[in-house]
Structure formats: structure tokens, C-alpha cells
């Protein structure tokens, strides 16, 4: 426990841990000392000088070391000759802080006057108007009139694109460097800087492409003026016209808490539309940050390409139908397909959707298959991160092991928080086949070939036989106070994923790092609710098995999964399947092959829950009304259930959760009420001065609930895993996940669209040299029965024996162990013209 220090602030006594800054101590007792440059998530820099206060300290007697007392018995206080910055001064015992006297009030007014000499005062047309610390503080502390000649103000550029996502207004910038510091200290992407100096100091970026950081949007939240705005929201609306709705991001397993701001608009017939996404504070999940995908991807919900009506195949063509017709057709089709229904669902569906879909599969004695490359959800359910954990608590004494994952791409907020844990002194160990951005912060970087990652991880169980870094890592795991292991899917296919998860679970069990806060196993799942899908009873199948299941199924129900769009073998299998029903937002490749297509509501149009990779169940709320004709997946499942004579709850998501709680032990204590509970978090967000979190939202609608772990751990028998051999002349096919992939939703988001990963096969540069091709030139890839032609791209981090293909590449990619890459034979000139 930190030593406590007692001081007085404006005659109010407050006791805080030693090391607390005066500004934070004041905030705790409701005294909002004005600040601009200070941000509680960053080191203080004391540059804006807004937070000046008068500070006195007790006079100490040199000889006795005791405070000198006044005649009235109170300690004698000596005040410093100059005002001090509350944001940089730590509290000390007996300190007396004055924040309201004449000297301090005058200083605030004076500093504000300085800031305003250069400010354009264009509040009426500023996006930040109404939620601007400068505006608020000016009202509270500012001078009544300007003594500065308006003609002498500096005129500067007002619409500088820093990249395609963020715009800068140079006149409004007050040079607080919050954005620069966020990018270098928190995001570790130092792509914003100052150029020039003095009054000419201005924000700039030199990165290629502009403002090249997946965390860029956060700078617009913490900018205390309207200098930084998103391409999304600029001139979009005035903050006071906006309503907010609590939501979650479902694009990765972190489960970042979001707030969507909505406004009724004429262009959508007076309906509410989303104007922007902002982080919502959850210190145990995303603190006050989100990645740019979370912030900008929501536009797919308003895509004109959304399915607007159910479709039923008639005479070989998908034709619009009413819901009743479509549901009837679907139920009839599935009924006549007999038992053995295959329900294939993706991890972006909610727990309620998945529970209901599972009920359908169970009713038809079928199989509930999770569409995922990763296994291990049964293990995380047993040895996952224990309740009471918070990555922010990891520091010296803790070990974080990240195996086979490029967290920066797969789960950006975890990347950020683990990097910070390492900077606080936690020992970070990475294990992988190629260097990743996280490695820069690791103390041990364990390297294992693709195909050998699970084995390498398992080897840590026996330190005795190991050498070098592996041995050190094994010993670090044993001696650490806390251990958290993350396992991902970088170049890992399902069978290896199972072995990888198993090895990680074994390590935790053997070293005694389970069932305690800040210990446990975390899956870096492909989607926001993959963990929930496991919990609801969905399990993945390996590609060949899945193809077999689909091809042999009398009935297939697809929800949140597009196998045909991803893999030609699955597309073929789907074509062989009996009756196919798809519930989706878009007409995916799988939907094109379906017999009935049912338009699903986007998650922003309904409510539900997701279970994050840390096994925190969180609630999301309706943000906008559903698209005409779209229905929530759990409702669709329930309605299909009616046709299949099965009782599935479809009236309300909360009622589905009651069933989940009744049937799934881990969820026994979960209810919508409990999920909506909050408690005070630090730093305090949302007071009138807005200074702490910027425009990050205060969390008033629920921090979520961590799932308990079972008393008894019983791990399944381990399965031997050996990678498929790669014949001479072939390359191991390595599949990895990209943040800006071409997922079926992402590709309908115009803003993010500009950053989508290029369509290419990735090879080590020296392989390109061997092949004699330049980056960008096409190569021919033989993968099983398929032959693809793709531009080659260089990635020096890939090993020499591998060919990399992103998952959700936007085109079907065969899921095979190895491929042969060669230069395409030149087309004989005579034939070229025919095409």
C-alpha cells in the first residue's frame, strides 16, 4: 500500500497516496483546477501554465526535523514566491494549496488571455463548440474583453488534412502537445510533431501515409480545443444536438466500450443516424481509448448495399419476398432437409443470437459450428483471466506471454495496454514466427518456425531441457507473481491452435497461475464474441471437416459467417449442401448461394451482450432504429424456431439472457440489470470542465461482469499435433489477421476502406529476388486444386519458407497447408488478344 499524505486544499483536508499530483488530489474532492496540457493518462509537462495555484509547505525545524509551530499551535506555512503548476507538483505532508484566492484567479485570467490572443474565437462554427475545455474555461475564468488587437492575430490554415481521417485547424491549436504526446508516449507512433517554434509552432506529420497510426482518432478526443477533428464528424453536427447510446465494438476480442452519438436527420426521414463513435470509459477494458477501426467502421450500418428485404430462391433466382413467406420457405426447407442441421455462426453475433441458434441446432439434432480458425474456448472457460483482473494492474512481478499473435493488428487495445504493462515493469515475453510491433517492448523474444509454435510453447513446461531465452522464459513463468498468457492465430490453423491453447493452459496450471486475479489465459479471438460463442456451445471445425459437414448437410443455417466468400472449397461444399438459409446484413458470396436470405439487423439497431476475450460479459444498447425489414439475429432464430416447432425465446434480448443464465452455469449470475451497473472510475470523466478524458464518455450504462471460473479444472487429454509436411519447392501457407481486413462488414465502410490491406501474397524479399519479380507484379499460386494469381508483396519479417495470405482477404483463399508460388508463364502473344 502506498504511503498516504494529508494536505489541505482551500481549507478542505484530503488524504491521498504519496506521489499524487495536486491537480488529481483536488479533482478527488470536486475541485476542478483548470488544465489544458495535463492529461491523467500522460506524464505531466507543465507547459500550458493554466493550472497555477499557490502552494505553501510547513516550515521544518532543522535540528528536530519537526514542523515549526505558530503561537496558535498550527504549523507555520511558508508560501512559495511564485505560483506553482498543480499538474506537476506532487502532494506532500502538511501542504496547503490555495486555488481560489485573488492571486490564482488573476493568473488564470492572465494565462487564458494569452491563449486567446492567438485563438480565432470561431466557436460558433467549431465542431468542439459545446464540449470545449477552452470555451468552458474562458467562460469560467476568462477576461471579459480582449486587449489584443484583432487585426494583429495570426491567420493560419484551417483545414489541414493530417491524413484521410483527421483534420487540423492550425488557428485553433493551443500547442498543448497532448496529441503529440499521445502519439509518441501512448500509441508509440510518433507521427505527430511540432514544426517551427515560438508562436509559429505548429502541428505537422511527415508520415507516409499521413497520420499513420491506428490510434489516431483518440487525439481528437483529448485535444482540448477544436483543432483536431475527424473526417467523420467535422461539420457533422453540434454536440448539444446529439444524443448518446452506450455500445461496444465487436471487431476484436477486447470489447472496447463505445458511445455512439446520434441525431435525427432529414436525410434519413427524421430518423436517428449515427454521427460519430467515441470511447466510453471502462478502465478495466479500454480505459478511455479506442482504435480507429472501432471509431470509423460503423458506416457499414448505413450502407445502401444492406439487404432490405428477405429473399427466396424461385426458379433458380433469389427474389424478394415478405418475411412471412421467407420464414415459411426457410422452415419448410429446413424441415424437409431432415435432422442434422448444420448451424454455422460467426463470433460477431451476440450471446443471445448464438444461444438461440444453438437451440435450433439442438432441436434438429444438428451441429452448432463456430466459424473460426481458433480453438481453445473450452480452455479459457476453465483457466481464463480470473475475475478482478485488470491489465492496468500488471507491472513489476508480472509476466505477460503473447504467443503467435500480432496484437497490434489483432487486438489493438490489448497491444496498447500490454505495451504499457511492459513499460511499467511487467516482463513481456513474445513467442512467434516473425517479429511483430509488440516485440520492441518485450524482454524476451522467443522465435519458433511456423508450424512449430505450439510445440515451442509446450517446451516451456520443462525448463530443465532448455537453453538461452527459452530457459529464461520458462523460469520467469515459474517465478512470476502473476502470469497472463495470450494466444493468437498468426500462421496457426485450427489443429495447431488447439495444441497452442492446450500448451498455454498447461503452463498456467503447472506454474500455479490460475484462478487468481491478474492470472489466466486469453484467446486473441478473431471476433468480438468468439468467447461467447464457445460458451453458448459452438465449436469450430477444421477446414476439411467443415467442408465435409456442409457438403453432407441436409440443411445449413448461416449467421454472421461467409464461408463461400473466404474459401473456394467451402463455396463448393455449400453448393452441395441441401437447403441453405443465410441471415446476414449483406448479400455475401454465401448468401448468393442460399435458398433463403433473411436480412439481419446491425448490432447498433438492437440490444444484446458480448463476452470479451477477458471473459467480461458486456451489454450493448440500441443506437438507431432497425433498418426497415431487418430483424435481430436472435429474433430471426426464434421465428425460424416457431416454424420448426421449437420453443425459442424471441421477444426480448433480456429474456434470452434469462434463459442463458438458467442453462449455462458460468452465466448464472448474469442479468441485464447487473450488466448495467457502474462504479466510480479514475480518472474522473465527464465533469463540467471536460479536461480529463477529453470527449471520452463517462460510463453510466454498465461496466460489465467478469465470468467466474469453475472450481475444478479438468483439461481434456492433449492431442498430438504435427504440422503437415511441406514438400520441396513448396512454401508453407501462413494465414494472418489484419486490422483493416476485407471482412464482410469492414469493406462497406468508406472511411476505413482507404486503409484496407492490399490484395497480395506476402513473401520474403529474397524470395521475390529468387523468383525474379518486383513487388506488385503478379505471381501464380497453386494451392491444392486452385490456382490464384495475385500481386506479390515483400515482407521481410516472414521466414523464407512461407507465403503469407491475410484472412478475410476480400477474395476466396484456399485453406491448405502449403502452396507453390511461381512466375506465371507468359501468355503467348497470339492468345493474349482473345481475352
Amino acid at each position: 500500500m502506498a504511503k498516504m499524505v494529508t494536505l489541505s486544499i482551500d481549507d478542505q483536508t484530503v488524504t491521498v497516496p504519496a506521489g499524487t499530483l495536486v491537480v488529481d488530489a483536488a479533482k478527488k474532492i470536486g475541485n476542478d483546477i483548470p488544465v489544458f496540457c495535463y492529461h491523467p493518462k500522460m506524464e505531466p509537462v507543465g507547459m500550458c501554465r493554466m493550472c497555477l495555484v499557490e502552494i505553501g509547505r510547513p516550515v521544518m525545524d532543522r535540528a528536530s526535523g519537526q514542523p515549526v509551530l505558530e503561537p496558535d499551535g498550527k504549523p507555520r506555512i511558508q508560501f512559495a514566491p511564485k505560483l506553482e503548476t498543480a499538474c506537476t507538483t506532487p502532494v506532500s505532508e502538511g501542504m496547503v494549496v490555495l486555488t481560489e484566492n485573488q492571486k490564482v484567479t488573476a493568473a488564470r485570467k492572465e494565462v487564458l488571455e494569452f491563449l486567446l490572443t492567438s485563438h480565432p474565437l470561431d466557436c460558433p462554427i467549431c465542431d468542439k463548440g459545446g464540449e470545449c475545455p477552452l470555451q468552458n474555461l474562458t467562460l469560467a475564468h476568462g477576461p471579459g474583453e480582449s486587449r489584443f488587437l484583432f487585426d494583429e492575430k495570426m491567420r493560419q490554415q484551417k483545414h489541414v488534412p493530417l491524413g484521410e481521417l483527421i483534420f487540423l485547424d492550425r488557428e485553433r491549436c493551443i500547442q498543448c502537445a497532448r496529441c503529440v504526446r499521445f502519439q509518441s508516449d501512448i500509441a508509440a507512433d510518433p507521427v505527430l510533431g511540432f514544426s517551427q517554434r515560438g508562436r509559429s509552432l505548429e502541428i505537422m506529420t511527415h508520415s507516409e501515409p499521413g497520420f499513420d497510426s491506428i490510434f489516431s482518432g483518440n487525439t481528437t478526443d483529448i485535444c482540448p480545443v477544436g483543432a483536431l477533428t475527424t473526417a467523420d464528424f467535422r461539420f457533422g453536427a453540434r454536440p448539444w444536438e446529439l444524443k448518446s447510446a452506450a455500445s461496444l465494438c465487436n471487431h476484436c476480442p477486447v470489447g472496447c466500450n463505445l458511445t455512439y452519438n446520434v441525431r435525427r436527420e432529414a436525410r434519413s426521414d427524421g430518423k436517428s443516424v449515427i454521427k460519430r463513435a467515441l470511447p466510453r470509459q471502462n478502465e478495466a477494458v479500454n480505459e478511455i481509448w479506442i482504435c480507429d477501426k472501432a471509431r470509423f467502421v460503423y458506416h457499414y450500418t448505413e450502407s445502401p448495399e444492406r439487404l432490405s428485404t428477405p429473399l427466396v430462391r424461385r426458379n433458380g433466382e433469389l427474389t424478394p419476398a415478405s418475411w412471412d413467406e421467407a420464414l415459411e420457405a426457410a422452415a419448410q426447407g429446413l424441415r424437409s432437409a431432415g435432422e442434422k442441421l448444420v448451424v454455422l455462426a460467426g463470433g460477431r453475433l451476440s450471446n443471445e443470437d448464438l444461444f438461440n441458434l444453438h437451440a435450433l441446432a439442438a432441436a434438429r439434432k444438428g451441429r452448432a459450428v463456430l466459424y473460426s480458425d481458433m480453438a481453445g474456448g473450452d480452455l479459457t472457460a476453465q483457466v481464463g483471466l480470473a475475475p478482478g483482473s485488470n491489465l492496468a494492474d500488471l507491472g513489476a512481478g508480472s509476466v505477460v506471454l503473447v504467443a503467435a499473435s500480432d496484437l497490434h493488428e489483432e487486438a489493438p487495445l490489448w497491444w496498447l495496454r500490454i505495451k504499457q504493462a511492459a513499460q511499467r515493469g511487467a516482463r513481456l515475453i513474445t513467442l512467434g514466427a516473425r517479429p511483430t510491433r509488440l516485440e520492441a517492448f518485450a524482454s524476451l523474444r522467443l522465435r519458433a518456425d511456423y508450424g512449430q509454435q505450439a510445440q515451442a510453447l509446450a517446451s516451456l513446461l520443462e525448463p530443465a531441457g532448455l537453453e538461452g531465452d527459452f530457459r529464461e522464459a520458462a523460469e520467469a513463468l515459474r517465478s512470476a507473481e502473476n502470469v497472463v498468457i495470450f494466444f493468437g492465430s498468426d500462421g496457426v490453423e485450427l489443429a495447431e491452435s488447439e495444441a497452442l491453447a492446450r500448451a498455454a493452459a498447461d503452463l498456467l496450471v503447472h506454474t500455479g497461475h490460475t484462478a487468481r486475479p491478474n492470472n489466466g489465459l486469453v484467446g486473441v479471438w478473431p471476433h468480438g464474441n468468439t468467447q461467447g460463442a464457445w460458451d453458448m456451445g459452438f465449436h469450430p471445425q477444421a477446414p476439411a471437416e467443415l467442408a465435409h459437414s456442409l457438403a453432407g448437410a441436409g440443411g445449413v443455417l448461416l449467421a454472421g459467417a461467409d464461408p463461400a466468400g473466404d474459401d473456394p472449397a467451402l463455396a463448393a461444399a455449400l453448393e452441395q449442401a441441401g437447403f441453405v438459409v443465410v441471415q446476414e446484413l449483406f448479400l455475401t458470396e454465401s448468401a448468393r448461394r442460399a435458398d433463403v436470405v433473411l436480412p439481419a439487423a446491425a448490432y447498433t439497431e438492437r440490444e444484446g451482450t458480448y463476452t470479451s476475450g477477458e471473459r467480461r460479459v458486456q451489454r450493448f444498447y440500441p443506437v438507431t432504429p432497425p433498418r426497415a425489414n431487418a430483424r435481430p439475429d436472435f429474433v430471426i432464430a426464434a421465428q425460424l424456431g416457431t416454424g420448426l416447432l421449437t420453443d425459442v425465446e424471441g421477444r426480448a434480448a433480456a429474456l434470452v439472457m434469462q434463459r442463458i443464465a438458467a442453462q449455462i452455469p458460468a452465466y448464472a449470475a448474469i442479468s441485464y440489470q447487473r450488466l448495467a451497473e457502474t462504479q466510480e472510475q479514475w480518472p474522473i470523466i465527464g465533469r463540467k470542465d471536460l479536461y480529463y478524458g477529453g470527449t471520452s464518455y463517462e460510463n453510466t450504462q454498465g461496466l460489465g461482469v467478469s465470468l467466474p471460473l469453475p472450481e475444478m479444472v479438468s483439461l481434456p487429454a492433449p492431442k498430438a499435433y504435427a504440422p503437415a509436411p511441406v514438400p520441396a519447392g513448396a512454401l508453407r501457407l501462413v494465414r494472418f489477421s489484419r486490422l483493416y481486413d476485407h471482412g464482410s462488414l469492414v469493406r462497406h465502410s468508406p472511411l476505413i476502406g482507404q486503409r484496407l490491406a492490399a490484395r497480395a501474397v506476402w513473401l520474403h524479399p529474397s524470395l521475390l529476388v529468387q523468383l525474379g519479380v518486383q513487388p506488385g507484379e503478379e505471381v501464380e499460386i497453386t494451392a491444392g486444386d486452385e490456382i490464384l494469381r495475385l500481386p506479390a508483396a515483400a515482407d521481410e519479417n516472414l521466414p523464407l519458407n512461407a507465403a503469407g495470405l491475410p484472412r478475410s482477404a476480400g477474395f476466396p483463399t484456399p485453406n491448405v497447408p502449403w502452396v507453390v508460388v511461381r512466375v506465371p508463364a507468359p501468355v503467348p502473344s497470339g492468345q493474349a488478344n482473345k481475352e
Partner: protein, 414 residues
């Protein structure tokens, strides 16, 4: 011993050559220190000599060295050769003409705090000087005075130069360290001070060139000998850079405590064209403007007297003479423009205040200012005081406030 302690090249031709410098006892102090004195002995000698920093603040040098914690390593010494205060040109003469005495001082300081790598940070304009200094360092390496196992001991030391690139603020020690780390020259928050968290976050001594040039003499002749020069609280000699309206501008090495009058009239040859001295600035552009009455002219030039009697800092002792042809509004416009140009922009009052003052001072100097503008100029300056992150902001207000206070007429009737 000749007339000079620091400007010895004025008596000894070619003192900038290593053999000449050694022939006059050069590097004996360093040899003595490394071979027969402990680091603590060297530190004690400097402490007892009462040597105070010549870079501006006059902080006791030995005390500064003693602040370095011995549980955190490595230690660094950085020589401050940024010399950018308008009116200051003493370090440049030392570097050019007596470089080895300065380097020996830097090496002694390094030994005293057990630094194995030290740097000379020169303002970028001293490009040619840096080349020469690199040559000197190479000579020293060749002569075995720098490198591994010096004089057969375990001590090793390397020196390197680092050029700034045009920024007055890099004379401020924390901005200097930022610059040496390859960043913008913006001052750091203090505390922590460089003594505990300096270059690369390691314990670091930053000393002025002239300060260091004194050290070989102190080690060689002992603290008592050094104390025989100057005053009790300001012992030793000081180089005074004399400039402005004076017949013989230049550097003058004099004991601390010499009166201004002697510097200006006896050494500087008085005011050109039989003019009158109207005012002077004791510490370059950062200084208050002192009206040159008899009391002022008779004030001894040492750290206490100038501060106490004239409310002006001695600073780096760059004395700028202003005669009766100078209008103080023009002068203030110059100083304010300088600080506006050199403000790093990190803190609000300095960034905005110098910008605003410059607008006002320019208007006033152009004869377009009103009385209200004059009062506003003084008010803006006072409004900056006590609020800035580093001393530059404070410096920028000195001439403004004192100038308007003492020579208001000059501002009103342009």
C-alpha cells in the same frame, strides 16, 4: 604567472597548440588529479575555491558536482558552449585561442564525477570552432591524454562535440540536453534536475566553458590561491564582454568586484564621440536596463553587488553600453524581437507574451503607439512574470519593465 588566468593566449603565442599548452604546464593538473588525487579530492578543491558558474546563474560549481548520486551510472559532463546571449562573446575567444585549458577543465570535471564520456555542446554557428575542437580532441587522443587507461590507471574518458543549429534556448541546460538527445530544444520540467536526471536520464553536470577553464588552475594552484582573486562571495576572475556604445569593445578579464566604471572607462576607453553613458545592461539582452548614475557606475561587478544594488543580474557578465543617442523604445523593440524569435513555444505565457510584446514594441518604436500601448506593453511583461516554464520568458520582460519604468519619455515621444 602572467597577467591572465583565462585569456593566457594573449601573452603566450600559439597557446592553441597542444605542445605549446603543455610546455606551459598544460595537463599537469589533469595528470596530477588522475594519478594522485581521488575524485573527491578534485571535487573538494573546486568546492573550496568558491568557483561559481560563469554561464549566468552563478551557482557554486563544486556543489553542483557533488549533487550527482553515486548509485546511478553512467555520469556525464556536458560543457555549455552555446553562448548565444546578445552581448556575450567570451567563450568563443576561449575556445578559439585557449581551447586546451577549457578541455583540461572539462576533463577534470569528468574525472571528479567519474564520467567516462563527456560532450561539448556548441551553438551551430560555431561550426568552424567545432572542427578545431574535434582536431584538439584527436590530438589529445593521440597524446594519450584521452582514451583508455589514462596514465596507467583504470580511468578512461572520451570527449565529443555536438553542434546545435541556431536556437538561443539551447543555452538553457535542460533544452541543451534535449537538443543533445536529438530533439527540439525545449526546456524540461525541473525538478528533476540534470544532476540526477540529465543526459539520457543519467546524472549529468552542465557547466559553462569559462567555468571549466578555471578548473585546471584551481587544481594546480589550490583553492586558497584562487580565492586570492575577486571578492569573498564571488572569488576569482571573470571575463567581461563589453559591447555597445564604447570605444574599445572586447573581452576583459578582471577580478570579480571590479566596478563598472573601471571596465567602461579605463579598459573600454569610454564613450565614442565624447558622448555620455545613459544606461547599461549587465547581463546582455536578458538584463534589466540600469540607468548609469554614479552609484551604478561605482557598483562592483560581482554576483551580489549587481543584484543587490542595481536589481540587475551579473549573469554571464555581458555589459552592453548605451549612450545618449540610444532611444530605449528602440532598444526594447530589439530585445523583445530577439526573445520572440527565440521563444521555444512550449509554455503559453512566453510563446504568446513575447509575440504580443513584439507587436506592441514594434508599434511603439515605429512611433505609432499610444500611451495606452506603452502601459499595455509593461502590463503584458508583468503578466508574464512568475508564470513561465523556464527563465527565457522571465528574461524577455526585464528590459521592458525596467526600460518603461526608467525611461518612459523615450517610449512616449518617438
Amino acid at each position: 604567472m602572467g597577467q591572465y588566468l583565462l585569456l593566457r593566449h594573449r601573452e603566450i603565442p600559439n597557446l592553441h597548440q597542444l605542445d605549446v599548452y603543455r610546455a606551459h604546464g598544460g595537463f599537469e593538473a589533469f595528470r596530477k588529479a588522475v594519478t594522485s588525487m581521488t575524485p573527491a579530492d578534485v571535487l573538494a578543491a573546486v568546492k573550496n575555491s568558491g568557483l561559481r558558474g560563469r554561464g549566468g546563474a552563478g551557482f557554486p560549481t563544486g556543489m553542483k558536482w557533488a549533487f550527482l548520486p553515486n548509485d546511478r551510472w553512467p555520469h556525464y559532463v556536458v560543457a555549455n558552449a552555446d553562448e548565444s546571449e546578445p552581448g556575450t562573446f567570451k567563450d568563443r575567444e576561449l575556445l578559439e585561442s585557449n581551447p586546451y585549458q577549457f578541455l583540461e577543465g572539462l576533463m577534470l570535471a569528468s574525472y571528479a564525477v567519474q564520467a567516462n564520456q563527456s560532450y561539448v555542446y556548441l551553438r551551430g554557428e560555431f561550426w568552424a570552432l567545432a572542427q578545431k575542437l574535434d582536431g584538439c580532441i584527436a590530438e589529445l587522443e593521440k597524446a594519450g591524454l584521452l582514451g583508455e587507461n589514462l596514465f596507467g590507471t583504470a580511468y578512461h574518458l572520451r570527449l565529443a562535440t555536438h553542434l546545435g543549429a541556431g536556437a538561443y534556448i539551447c543555452g538553457e541546460e535542460t533544452a541543451l540536453l534535449e537538443s543533445l538527445e536529438g530533439k527540439l530544444g525545449q526546456p524540461r520540467l525541473r525538478p528533476p534536475f540534470p544532476a540526477t536526471h540529465g543526459l539520457y536520464n543519467s546524472p549529468t553536470v552542465v557547466n559553462n566553458v569559462e567555468t571549466l577553464a578555471n578548473v585546471p588552475l584551481i587544481v594546480e594552484h589550490g583553492p586558497d590561491w584562487y580565492r586570492s582573486f575577486g571578492t569573498e562571495k564571488s572569488p576569482g576572475v571573470k571575463i567581461f564582454s563589453l559591447s555597445g556604445c564604447v570605444n574599445k569593445p572586447g573581452n576583459y578579464e578582471l577580478p570579480l568586484g571590479t566596478p563598472f566604471r573601471e571596465l567602461i572607462f579605463q579598459h573600454g576607453g569610454g564613450i565614442p564621440n565624447g558622448g555620455q553613458v545613459k544606461a547599461f545592461m549587465s547581463a546582455g539582452a536578458s538584463s534589466t536596463i540600469v540607468a548609469a548614475d554614479d552609484a551604478a557606475l561605482d557598483t562592483p561587478m560581482d554576483y551580489e553587488s549587481t543584484q543587490n544594488n542595481l536589481n540587475a543580474p551579473l549573469g554571464s557578465a555581458s555589459v552592453i553600453i548605451l549612450d545618449d543617442t540610444v532611444n530605449m523604445a528602440d532598444l526594447v523593440q530589439k530585445t523583445v524581437h530577439f526573445f520572440k524569435h527565440e521563444s521555444c513555444g512550449k509554455c503559453t505565457p512566453c510563446r504568446e507574451g513575447t509575440f504580443w510584446m513584439n507587436r506592441l514594441a514594434t508599434r511603439i518604436a515605429a512611433g505609432q503607439g499610444s500611451e495606452k500601448d506603452v502601459d499595455l506593453l509593461a502590463a503584458v511583461a508583468r503578466q508574464m512574470q512568475g508564470k513561465c516554464l523556464c527563465a527565457l520568458g522571465e528574461f524577455s520582460t526585464m528590459a521592458v519593465v525596467s526600460g518603461i519604468e526608467k525611461f518612459r519619455e523615450d517610449f512616449l515621444h518617438k
